[in-house]
Symmetry: C2
């Protein structure tokens, strides 16, 4: 994958002599904030238990506590991996779920808050009980090649998550990015120590696309997570995303998906 | 307007014996956080200078600093009332505009952040140079009749704005509300001391609708602002909104509108 390696060497401050040992198509070691060499592969398979891959999601502006209670009950019944909600509901979800995790979105869905507001929101989300954090990058600044800004923002949030043992997913909003920008965003998120790259907010022009999920998996390699989200409605959609490389799915059609 | 008065008496903690002196269709004094009795009427007319009513707006996730620079240049040329942007650009706009104000959105566009994150974001926005604040209410909790929650959130932000001499607009996302919910949201925003009620984020199912703008003006009376936003593309759209009662327009089609 010469092209991905070239993009990494050109855009990240890395030593081209030190080779990658965790399997990313960048080939050169990114000197990540959290080294993944000793970690297990995170790949999912179509035979995987789908419920364990699903972030059961409700992010609409008009969601009420009774809507949230409903998806918590569903998560308890189907044992979904997490319940993914806006921050105002973290505490409420925490007291209404059994084994599923509490996943909160940060800087959502535009990612154009100030960095300090995102940092504040992450800290408060964790205090309130969030166990997984799905943050949105500053898409406009990434596209304008302010890579250091985007990297430092992710790194700061990643450090908060690492020190609290929280899973961090980085939403890159693929539908607004070129392939090269997707590659760069994945590299920055990986180097910053995030646990997942995630395709979409579900509030932009498109959700997860198979080719983009494949590209994201190729870039980050097998030891980092890839979450596909947005527009995943059917069992077949879910299988397609897993076969493209996703090991986590964000969807509100979770029950349709697990029932096949 | 017996119905609006009934809704006010039923949903707000007010004394039905004390009559309104500022002209709202609620008829009964709301005992507002900021009394408007001594203020001038805020109505606009189709003969008004349109540029002075326009918040020149760019809120897309992929907006770059060069896009923002471009709308600042336009605002300088056409002397728009404000430039309305996401918080990460406040400082940048401040250094690129002449007489227009810096307007920042808060809790945008879902309004489903924790209240404390919204408060933090407002304070940081003002520190960074914002002169107008457009905040989104928690729509889901309003619809579930958690009026006290919504009122206290607006009031807290209103107090920050009042003490800093900042204009506060409250986005109620009319397309997600019933007429009764629009009335309640307007009453809560007025009682909390906000300067404007605003129709829409532009990121939900619909933008400003004429009948809803009329209703909002009717509820709040002539001494509070009404901002119509979302889907205002032409000179005629702007005139229609002004005739419906709007005295501020949020749009990215500002130049088309002023050129007629």
């Amino acid at each position: 994958m010469k092209e991905i390696r070239d993009i990494a060497e050109k855009n990240l401050n890395i030593d081209p002599q030190i080779l990658c040992k965790c399997g990313g198509a960048h080939e050169v070691c990114l000197n990540c904030n959290k080294c993944r060499v000793g970690m297990q592969n995170q790949l999912a398979f179509k035979e995987s238990n789908l419920n364990e891959l699903i972030d059961h999601t409700l992010l609409k502006a008009n969601a009420s506590t009774s809507d949230i209670k409903h998806i918590c009950d569903e998560a308890n019944l189907y044992k979904f991996k997490s319940v993914c909600i806006n921050p105002c509901f973290i505490n409420y979800v925490k007291f209404n779920i059994d084994s599923s995790l509490v996943c909160a979105v940060i800087g959502f869905p535009l990612g154009a808050n100030s960095s300090e507001t995102k940092f504040f929101e992450v800290r408060k989300a964790i205090e309130a009980g969030a166990q997984e954090i799905d943050m949105v990058i500053n898409v406009g600044l990434l596209k304008e090649n302010f890579h250091q800004y985007v990297f430092e923002e992710i790194t700061h949030i990643s450090n908060i998550c690492i020190s609290n043992n929280i899973t961090l997913k980085v939403i890159i909003e693929t539908c607004l990015l070129t392939d090269e920008e997707i590659i760069i965003a994945c590299l920055l998120a990986k180097k910053a120590g995030a646990d997942f790259v995630k395709t979409s907010t579900g509030f932009s022009t498109k959700g997860a696309q198979i080719e983009q999920v494949k590209l994201m998996r190729e870039v980050v390699g097998p030891k980092m997570g890839v979450k596909a989200s947005g527009g995943i409605k059917t069992h077949q959609d879910a299988i397609d995303m897993i076969e493209a490389g996703a090991n986590r799915l964000g969807t509100s059609n979770s029950i349709n998906i697990v029932k096949g």
